[in-house]
Each structure stands twice: as C-alpha cells, then as structure tokens.
Subunit: 314 residues, 4 copies
Amino acid sequence: MQTLRISTIAAALLLAGSAYAQQQTCFPSKHGPNDQVGNLNYVTPEKTLAATRLVTKGKAYRLGIETNKDTPAFPPRTFSVIILQPGQVHGSSLGPTKTTYNDDIINGWVGIGSQVDGLGHIGIDGVYYNCNKAPDFAKADGLTKLGVEHIPAIATKGILLDMAGYLNSEIVKEGTAFNRAEIEGAMKRQGVKTIERGDIVLFHTGWTKLIGKDNKRYGSGEPGLGVEGARYLAERGVAAVGADTWGVEVIPFEKNAGVFEVHQILIPMNGIYILENMETAEMVKDQAWEFLFTLGPSRITGSVQAIINPIAIK
Amino acid sequence: MQTLRISTIAAALLLAGSAYAQQQTCFPSKHGPNDQVGNLNYVTPEKTLAATRLVTKGKAYRLGIETNKDTPAFPPRTFSVIILQPGQVHGSSLGPTKTTYNDDIINGWVGIGSQVDGLGHIGIDGVYYNCNKAPDFAKADGLTKLGVEHIPAIATKGILLDMAGYLNSEIVKEGTAFNRAEIEGAMKRQGVKTIERGDIVLFHTGWTKLIGKDNKRYGSGEPGLGVEGARYLAERGVAAVGADTWGVEVIPFEKNAGVFEVHQILIPMNGIYILENMETAEMVKDQAWEFLFTLGPSRITGSVQAIINPIAIK
Amino acid sequence: MQTLRISTIAAALLLAGSAYAQQQTCFPSKHGPNDQVGNLNYVTPEKTLAATRLVTKGKAYRLGIETNKDTPAFPPRTFSVIILQPGQVHGSSLGPTKTTYNDDIINGWVGIGSQVDGLGHIGIDGVYYNCNKAPDFAKADGLTKLGVEHIPAIATKGILLDMAGYLNSEIVKEGTAFNRAEIEGAMKRQGVKTIERGDIVLFHTGWTKLIGKDNKRYGSGEPGLGVEGARYLAERGVAAVGADTWGVEVIPFEKNAGVFEVHQILIPMNGIYILENMETAEMVKDQAWEFLFTLGPSRITGSVQAIINPIAIK
Amino acid sequence: MQTLRISTIAAALLLAGSAYAQQQTCFPSKHGPNDQVGNLNYVTPEKTLAATRLVTKGKAYRLGIETNKDTPAFPPRTFSVIILQPGQVHGSSLGPTKTTYNDDIINGWVGIGSQVDGLGHIGIDGVYYNCNKAPDFAKADGLTKLGVEHIPAIATKGILLDMAGYLNSEIVKEGTAFNRAEIEGAMKRQGVKTIERGDIVLFHTGWTKLIGKDNKRYGSGEPGLGVEGARYLAERGVAAVGADTWGVEVIPFEKNAGVFEVHQILIPMNGIYILENMETAEMVKDQAWEFLFTLGPSRITGSVQAIINPIAIK
C-alpha cells in the first residue's frame, strides 16, 4: 500500500483561511427531514428511461480501477485479500465429483481504489447530511443512518467532461480548479447543452495514468472541482460528481478554501455523492459524452463508502 | 454471523454417488485457451444495445441484499465492518471549515450476502475454468488468474423466471429442482420465448424471505437449479445464472448428483457465472420478466467472488 | 462472539453522579515527565530477585483464558482466526522432504479474553497517563506513545487475594465492591502481611466460571475493585491489579462513582496496569498466595492492549 | 510490510536432494498417543524450581522484538493495527468523570516478529506432530488439535549460546550452520556444561541487527541450526529452540537438506517448539548464559503460532 503524500494537504491546512464563514453547520435536506439518500431522489423513472435512450452503440464501460495493496491510498488506509481453500487441506475435495473451491477474505479500508463516498462520509464539525450528528449514528460497528445500504438503484444520465481535452493537456496539472467557467467551457467544446437534476457529472483529467508510474505525484495533489464549481453543480441538482482522481476535489485547495470544503459542499450541504478514481480514458477516446450510468454499490450494512465499478453504456 | 446448517449437505456428501462419471477434469474453454471471462464473451455491443431497448418504464431495481454479521452464511464465513474517525480523536476536525469524516474497514469473507462467484471459485479436483490448475494461480494473497478484476462491464438481457408463481408456492420447498421442464414451463407461463447466448437468467423462489425469520431453514437447503437444468442453460449459452437463494443450486442435491455439481457444470465446465442472494420479489410483483441487467463487481485484484448489487432496469 | 450486556452499565451511566469532583484532568506522573511505563518503574532487580525466592514448589500456572469468537466480550468487540496453507493448494508441498505448514491470521479486537490494559487505554476527558492528550498520540494506525511495546519485562511479586473464600461464596455476587476493608480482611485471612511497591495484586472471585454457562450474567456486571480500594492500592504503589473478571472493577459501579472511574484512578491517574480475565482457580486451590509473577505482552507497535497469558510460579 | 527474499529458498528448493530418505511420515510421540504439547512434558516442577535458582541478579529481559507493518516477514504475511475510540465520536465521553478510551484491532498474520511455532505449524506431507493428519484438525476457523491454547505454562532453564562470540563475528554470516561441533564449542567457551531435558536453547547470532537496516539481507538467508545439530538437540530432549533470526534454521539450507527440514526434525518428529526473532543482544552483553525462561503465549483458540515476548530472568 502506497500512502498518499499529504504534505501538500497539511500545508494547505495550516495556511488556508476560509473566506466562507461557515457559521451554519446544520443543513436540512431539501428532500425532507428523514431523507437519507440526497439528490438520488431526483432520479425518477422518467429520468432513467430517458437515460436508456442515450444508448446508441451498446458499448459498456467499466469505470472501476483495481483495488489492491499497491493502489495508492489516503493514509493510513491499507488493503489485503486472502485466498484459502476451506476443508480441502492437503488435497482433499468434496464428494464423488471432487469439488474443490477457492474462497476469499478482505481485510481492508473501503476507501481504496474506485469508491463512492456515501452521505455519512463527510461532516461539518461533526454534523453530517440532513443534520445528523455523528454521536447519534456513527457507531463503531456500523453507521445506523446514512449507510451505503440505503443507496437506491442508480440508473441515470451520465455526463463526461473531458477537462484534459479542454485544457489541452494529457494530464491536467495538480491544483487546477474546475469552476463554472471551466465546466461550461468543456460542455460547450463537447456540445453538451445542459446539466440537469439527477445527472451524474464525471471529470476526465488523465490523473489515473500516474498510478503505478508516479504514485508520489498522484497522491500529493490533483486537479479537480473548485468551491465555486461545486456550488454551481449543486445548484444544477446533480446526483453525484466523479473524476479520474483520488479525491475529485482540487488539491492544493483553492486560496481561501477549507480542507476538503468541496466535499462538504457536495455531501453534507447538498446530498451529492462523490465518485473517486473513475476510469474514463476509453470513454474520452470514444467521445462518449452523455450516456446511461448505472451503479449498485455493495449493500454492506452501516458502511460509509463502497468500492465500486459503475457501468456506463453508450 | 449465523452459519448455515450443512448437516444436509454433509449427509448428501456421504450418500451421494454420482451417475455422471467425471473422468474428464479439464474442460478447455470454447472461448480460447487464454480466456478468463467465459460466456460474458457473448455479451456483444449489439446484445447490450438490444437489452437497453427492453426498458419501457424506467424503473430500476437493486438486486442486492444486505451483508452484515447477521446475514446467514456458508460456514466458517464471518463478516464485520468497523467505523472510525482517523485524526479526529476527542473532537478535533480539519481546517477552518471544520471538516470531519467517518471511514470504514471491512474484515470479512466475500461470500456473504449477494455475491457473484467468479470463474476461479469452483474446480473439479483442483482444476478450474479453462484447465487452470489451482497451484498455478491460487496464491494466498490473490488469484493470479480468473480474478474478479478481469470481469468486463456487464450490460445484457436479464430474464426472471418466477418459480414460486409457476409452482404456486410463496416459498418454493427446499430440494425442489429446476430442470428443463420447470424452466420451460415457467417461461411459457410468463410469455418468455427464448433464452439466448449472453442472457442472464434469475430464478425467483421466495427463499430470501426466510432471512432473519428462519435462518436455520434458510441455510439447511434451498430450491434451485438441477443438474439437467444446468446443462440446459449451458447449452443455451447464458452468461450467468442467479437466484434469490444462497447457492442457486438445489439442496439437498439431486439423487446421483455430486456435491455442488451444478456449480461445477456452470463455472469450470462452461464459464457461466453464478449470482447468489438476488432480491427479486419486487420485480416479480411488477412482472418485470425481461430487462436490462447491469453489474460491475468491485475490481479487487485477485478476488474470487464479489459482494454485488446488480441493477435491473425495466 | 457474545456481547456483554451493558444495560446495567448504561443505567449506571445515566444515574451516577460522581461525588468525586474531577476538576483536575492532567495527572503528571511521579516517574517523570517522559515516563511511559508507570509503576512498573518500581520493579527493580532487587524486587525481581526477591520474588524468585517466593518459589518453593516450582509449580507454574498459566493465568490466561482462551480467546475466540465465543469468548464474551465488551461490545462491539469481535474476534476470528483464519487457518490456511499458503502455497500448498491441492496437496502440494515444499521440496524433497515434503514440508507442509499451517499458517494463521487474526482479525480481532485485542480486548477479548485475558488482556492487559496498557497506559494508553483509559483517559479522563481525552487526557491519558502523564498528561498525554489523545489527539497527540492516538493515531488510527497505532499509538505513538504509551503503546504496549514499551512495557518492560515484568517479573515481580504477585499476591492473590481470594475474595470468594473471604466472602464465603463460590462466585462473588456482581456489584460486590472490594475496598480497603475487604482487601485487608482477605489479606489477614490468608496471612498476607503487606502489599508493597511494584507488587501485582490479583483478585479471585470465581466469576470466570460463568463463561460458557451464563454469558449474559457474566457480562452484565461483576464483583470487583471499588473506588476507595483503587486509591488504597494506588497508595501502596502496586504495578498492576488483576482479577478473574472481564473488567476488574465493580459493576454496577458504586453509588457516586463515575463510569469506569476505577480504571481512571488506576491507569491515567496512577500508572497502574489492569489485568483482566485472569484464571486463578487452581492457584486458590493450592493456596498460592504470594508468588513470582511474569508477563511479557506481545510487542505490537502502537497497540493499546494485549491478549496475555501471564505465568505465575509458586 | 517488507517481504523476505525467498529467491535463495526457492533455489534451494529446486536444487536440494535430501540425503535423508524420508519414507516414514508419521512419528508417534514419545509422550503418548494423545499428547499435544511435546517436550514441554519434560518441564516438571523440579525443573522449574531449579531454574528459579539460576536467578542471581534479578535482572529480567524481554526477548520480543516489535511487530508492525514494517517488520520483515515471510511472504505473503502482512500486519496492521487499528486504533479507534468506540462511542466517543466528536469528543463525547462516558459519564460524570468523562471517561474516554482507546481500543485496538489487529488484522494480521501471526507469524510476524517474535513468535513461537506451535506443534501444528509444520508437517511432513500433511502429517503433523503425533501422527495428526491435516484434514482432521486444520480447519479454516482454527486448529481442532495442536493449537497454541494447549501450551502449558513455560518456566524452565534457558541456555543462551553466543554463536557470534564463538565465531568471532558481530553478525554471523548467512548459511553458517550450527551443528554438534559448533554447539559444543560455544558451550565450552561459555562454561555451559550440559543441555538437559526440558531446557530451552537460544542462539545469538546478531542477525536481528539487520532489521530496519538491511531487510533484504535479513530475509534472504540466515545463520542457524543445521540438520545434525537439530538431531543433537532433539536427543538432548530440549523443549524449545530459539534464535535471534526469523527462522532459527540455517538458510540457504545445508547441502542435501530438505526445505525447512530442521523445522520438520524439531516440530513434527520431536515435539520441540521453535522461538523466532528472540532479542538476545543485551543478555550476551551481560553474559547471562543460564537463566529462568518464562513464556505464556496468548491462548487464542486454534491458533498455529503466537506473537510472543518471553521473559528471561538472571
């Protein structure tokens, strides 16, 4: 397990002074006081049906990268898988047809590789999505609210914004913030007309190309969504925002931005999911800009995140 | 973690004598000597495109059940999730906007709850799909072949066969085998005309209704696919077979059948994936018989199985 | 894993009002500002040498109980062990002499079964032994101070107090507090003259006899050390206090006592270790009241507790 | 976790041809057909009592090294510890005295750092100590025989042989075998007269000095016990053999020796425990050659090995 360099983050932490006076810490959801699923409420059957009509070629893409002990991860996250053959010691097998089997065990932090950040992941001073306070739901053996098991079936319109193409760079430089101007610029370049309620927006930056080649740079920063851009997407009512980076959010953080403030704007303040380490390179090559996006995260009761592999279909 | 009762299985193991003389243990894949993904090769863009046209209402279903320490599981599988707040001991938070976060760790066997059995799961006397021998690829820290990370994006036609409806039973009795007659009978009843190459067939039996109510019965047996039925589906060229049971296969095993011989017919002999504990009750209620089935299992390098939550769209 | 009933504890938590006004939260160690090992400083070579002279019969006792998934434990602690045979799939072995081997993996909370509570285990409002503040040393991947790896070799005088015998009860009733009167009474009955600096005092109550027989009662309370008794032992300068109970401390807590206040008096306020679930029945039978006590806890870097099995020699 | 270089081992595996024709694979124990503890049967109260009389200074030594993610280990072993504060999210504490606590979880292979190899660790073609066959006792969730929980209290005479001093080398070269001549030579140099039944023999080689400095060399080989030396110690009836190396046994293996054949001679053939990574440097400095050795391994039910920290007292 390679650990990300957080020196940059730490530096940002010390220097940053947020221009955004965050006096309000509880943001009641617009989806009602008992809501646990945020903007996925916007994904209606009409929305899903329309998204299936975006499919014109039938090409399906898997957006997940691999998760293993060498995948660069936010410290102190570690991961291992164990393979064993229960009841088959020294060559024994089961029954007359000699059945043998491999079984597997995972010992690992969930936030490694491609992942969805559930609504219980990020808070503001201990207050999470829809005014849920951490001591009330964050139990050591599982969240009692906002767990990933509550996430409904996701099948909606996905939009891929090729920021690498827009910025004419194979790998967009770390610290490059995507705000309204950049988002609309990329949309215009690609002919994407609108971002609507319940859409899922993915940014392509080329950043995952660094994995296994320059893990140190990969983890020390990243291009990504800025504070104003996050508010812009929140106003559009998107259901989720993703990128081919480990944190979606621009790092080093923007001047005057808080530490992971974009995460705060998206998750606790607006009920928008974050999709990290999405593999989008082949879709860019195919110019698959608008498509059917489907995701069913593993329903592990009380989990905060999930290791995912969404399927995009164009 | 409740453990399944395997007394029935153990009894079957001792009594069964397989009529099927399994002299041949290596079954070269029809997809070529290097193939690692089996009948998912049949899922072409044309197939995917056609499947998206089955969507008429836009209703999306999540097929996963929850996985947790109480989910009944094949022994000695156990599961736990741990929630913690790294770097936030005693109320500290990150930076000026006071970011806080929950993180999660999984310690658990993968084969609990809804799961896909990858092609490295089941073998015949130590020989797995496409003649891969266990000592060559089943390393203690991950499969070096046939791991779940190789599974391509899955988006194809799904077919749901309501065996409970066909047999006029809320919960089909354990030991009830689904063979050609039952499969074709259910198809006819529902107006399903054909099962084709690359399709995914799911059986609804009502069995998951026992979870949390009668875990002992749930794990002691199950209705499911029989040996002849497995061969029938293999001949059709299906990509995967699933059910709302923990093992898809009929238990007690049929007379003359081996221990998990249906698993052997599907996985090592034919490259067909198995999908266990699929939640199909709501689809039955909606008569969603033919639909777009999508699945992207977590790409954990070298894993045998994956905890899944496929999305079906009608 | 059976979880302890904490309803009693929770009730105590709600009702208790501490008579002890705990305004002071930082208790500098008498062993110096950099000390990490507490009263084990009192175990000098002279002390160790004298303790070896207590051995008259050469009988050695193991004080550890077994730790496994069924050992009753404080919630949400769980435990599992995994056995596998790496590189020996399907009957292969290593080299000409056909070496085979079993290997094992632990996935579990440390605080299960017999355990030592290290000086980093218990704090007062986030302040731990020797004024160490939790955010400064309690990192998610290991304590950077006060970890069990710092504990020196332990070989000192042990004193066993047979509270069951003193109170004429096979199993001392839960809620029975051991304070100065009871401690001195038991000493007198046994002919134990003094408790001195660096001694380790163990209480026998018969409580572990409940394990596997009445786990519910076992975990719902326990007899044990009271607040005044803890202060008395602290004044004597003992190095550790143990018992054949899961928490050493009397539960329900004494009237006016805080939640686990005895733990606070011993660990952060006085640098005294706690030894839980010590199996002392055979020693009582042998009247092994004063003896050589040895313990070397596993030196897992940054660990809070250790699963232990001390050796007492009489 | 640094993994040991096993290229040397692999090479030995391919080239070695054992002169020792191992036709016999089942070695009934001299301690009776039901024995599970081997030569620890030789540790009688008389033996223990005599060992306590070796203590002349009262100096106690901890023999354990630290176990953590960076400790070099035999592949694919990995290790991690997790620290968390259950029920104390965002600064909450328990009750009026504001109790806070750290708790810890271990996810790791047991065979890392200082460890005892139990009698269920090593076999000859699937047959273990006292003719126990692996399929009969090596269950995936714990050994049902020969587990570490059966090990009795260990308190006996320890003998430290300073091979580095004898060979006039700060760090004895890898591949240096200790056989009868070397053992007796070192004994003579130190004035150690006899090795007796129930003794524990430790070799000091200086090898642990490489940890953290040259992990590659540390894991690629080691000086250690040879085949003839192992038989010599077995004839003496020792209870355990240890060293300040990761495997005790000489590597590269001797010409004509099998892969870990010394392990086979000691454990399955003679019921002698192996103690790895024993920290003996300070004892050598103090010339603590004969001493009281005590060890109580954690009694984890069904475990194969234990992470240990024996206490030696001189």
